[in-house]
Amino acid sequence: MMEGSISNRMRILRFHNGEMSQAELGQRIGVTRQTIAAIEAGKYSPSLEAAFRIARVFNLPLEEVFQWDAQATH
């Protein structure tokens, strides 16, 4: 099985989008500020739906917001 983790560029994208706050982003996609903080810190992986919503807020395709950092194992 290929192991890895999900990383994201949400913090920098928020900064480039008028220094959008975590609370504002959370409000726009329907989650709490704490959940946005957890996603940014890589502590919580959002559902596919929430990930698409986040990408839509930034007007970017999903893979430009979220990346899969693979670590191949045998």
Binding site: G30, V31, Q34, T35, A38, K43, Y44
Partner: protein, 140 residues
């Protein structure tokens, strides 16, 4: 601190200050185990009512402190944490109920069985709220 973590702390504290003393008194004093034993029943009633009062006052206080957070519906992470905590508590409760319902009747009776059931219910609740607090602390 998220609102739901605060309410989980409140529930843990309420249980500690009500059922903690209840189980301590039950364990220290040798109250008669036969039913109905109104003294024992009264002690349980005091613990249960005190817990309800603490929870009621605590929730009221927390709602007044952050009404916005209290109104916010649970999001997907809150629901994931809730699912995890309930499934952990389920195993504690089911193990306890097997012990109390299938094993203890062969060796005990009366209030011993009731108190053992209460211990297992409180333990399941502690696991439930403990997992909620732990999950919010590590942000998962």
């Amino acid at each position: 601190m998220p609102y739901r973590e605060k309410t989980a702390w409140l529930s843990l504290i309420a249980m500690a200050v009500t059922f903690g003393p209840y189980f301590t008194i039950v364990a220290m004093r040798s109250l008669p185990g036969a039913l109905p034993n109104l003294r024992q029943l009264g002690l349980f009633a005091v613990a249960a009512i005190a817990q309800m009062l603490i929870l009621g006052a605590g929730h009221l206080y927390l709602r007044r402190g952050s009404p916005e957070d209290a109104r916010t519906p649970a999001d997907e992470r809150d629901r994931a944490i809730m699912r995890r905590s309930i499934s952990c508590a389920y195993y504690v409760l089911i193990a306890g109920m097997i012990l109390v319902g299938c094993v203890m009747p062969f060796s005990s009776s009366g209030w011993s069985i009731i108190n053992a059931a209460l211990v297992m219910i409180v333990a399941a609740e502690v696991v439930h709220y403990g997992v909620v607090v732990f999950s919010y602390r590590r942000q998962t």
